[in-house]
Amino acid sequence: MAESYLSPLLISLKTVVVATIITFILGIAAARWMAHYSGKFKNLIDGLFISPLVLPPTVVGLGLLLIFGKDGPIGEFLSLFNTTIVFSWPATVISAVVMSFPLMYMTSLGAFEQVDSHLEDAARTLGASEWRVFWSVTLPLAWSGVAAATVLSLARSLGEFGATLMLAGNIPGKTTTIPVAIYFSIQAGDMNQALVLVGVVLVIAFGALAAVAYWKGKTYKARTTIMNRERVE
């Protein structure tokens, strides 16, 4: 019986951890690129990156199915290696990444754009390559925005349902994440199971928010104490 609670929990944790790492890297890379890109297609690309956020998850799920499914471009390519994405655990990761990417991208981009460009210019005049400027100036100064973005995408991945159900399906022990398990429990009338799983999600979500609030409070406190220290002329 505990299996039916433990299994979705483990699967969700695995999925969320892997998806958040991937989204983190992809989101920051995309934000970095778009922050400095001023080509003709800027709006188009930006719109593309944000689209999973504004489209209904089932529409995104359908799109993913068309791409990764048996007759889709990537699906066909992968079948050469006898691999299928549809109805497999990697599909949960892919759905989670696609649905949480826009949040990571948008929020990080906003954070990067808020960094004073003169600071980045100063770094350049001091000999720093664009890479070094990003790592030593932009990213550290945008850190709180990036962290907020990460938490948002983590939460989004955790709750992802529509696209996951379409691409990964409901395979207990393999792809049944917590949200999918909750849905099917309710369908089956098993309210107890549903509520337990809901409780688990709430605990994780609030735990993450509390951690972020604590961390943010720490840095704010640190900032004000230094400001209140006496300034020596």
């Binding site: 499914g69 007759d71 299928t84 399906g169 395979i171 049944t176 099917f184 369908q187 009338g189 098993d190």
Partner: protein, 297 residues
Amino acid sequence: MMELSRRLSIRTESVYTIKTGCGWSLEKRIQRIKYRLLIPALLTSALSVIPLGGCSRNSIQTQASPITINVAAAASLTDVLKEINNLYTQGKPNISITPNFASSGTLQVQIENGAPVDVFISAAAAQMDNLQKKDMLLNDTRQNLLNNKLVLVVPIDSTLGITSFNDLISAKVERVAVGDPKSVPAGTYARQAFDQLGITAQIQPKEVLGSDVRQILTYVGTGNVDAGIVFSTDVLTSNKVKVVASAPAEINARIVYPAAVIKASKIPDAAKDYLDFLFSAQAKTVFEKYGFTVISK
């Protein structure tokens, strides 16, 4: 008291229309509503605005007021019921039917939680039993309506050479779509079939659980699974799958579709009339056209 009511009297000259769930409009011109009339007036208008499942206390003999019958039916009945509903409403201009198709388990849960359903047709006895235990069925209206057969289907272009339920244990078969046994009758029956054949343990790791038979059909039709278990009547609606085997006869014998009127229905007479029509000769022709077997009353 007079002072109070005078203070609370409203002077309005607004004209407003209240539309009720039954679709009848009420026009009132309110000039001065005294306090004593205010509360009852508000209550009646509030109640009239809440959409109700049927019309309030109207028998179908009153031709003036339109009636909507809410029918909750198992997903496998999607196509056949649409045609039957059209037949029923022919010549009855004041009656319309709102169907809701989903897995029987889902529908049962919805009804338990107060969904405004008048007639429920389930694809298995279990869901109807659950409602009966909770005394939610109108006495004596429950009857078994249909039989169906459980079949194994594969994508129409499948080359895996599956010809029986037992073939599913082969390593060539990676994924099998079945309904979630906890809420989809076709899934429950499928499990029973596996149990009977003694292959449940080998099949379970390959199962992809669907939320209703139509979804299973889609999974098989798009080729994203190697095989699926649906009702034989479902196959008729898709040209992307083919039947390769039937479930064991003992399983098929258990498949029964009960139908009943829900106790909470606001239009029990209309509902009963509809239910009777389902057992009529006219309906039987349609059911059989779609591959169902009608159980004689």
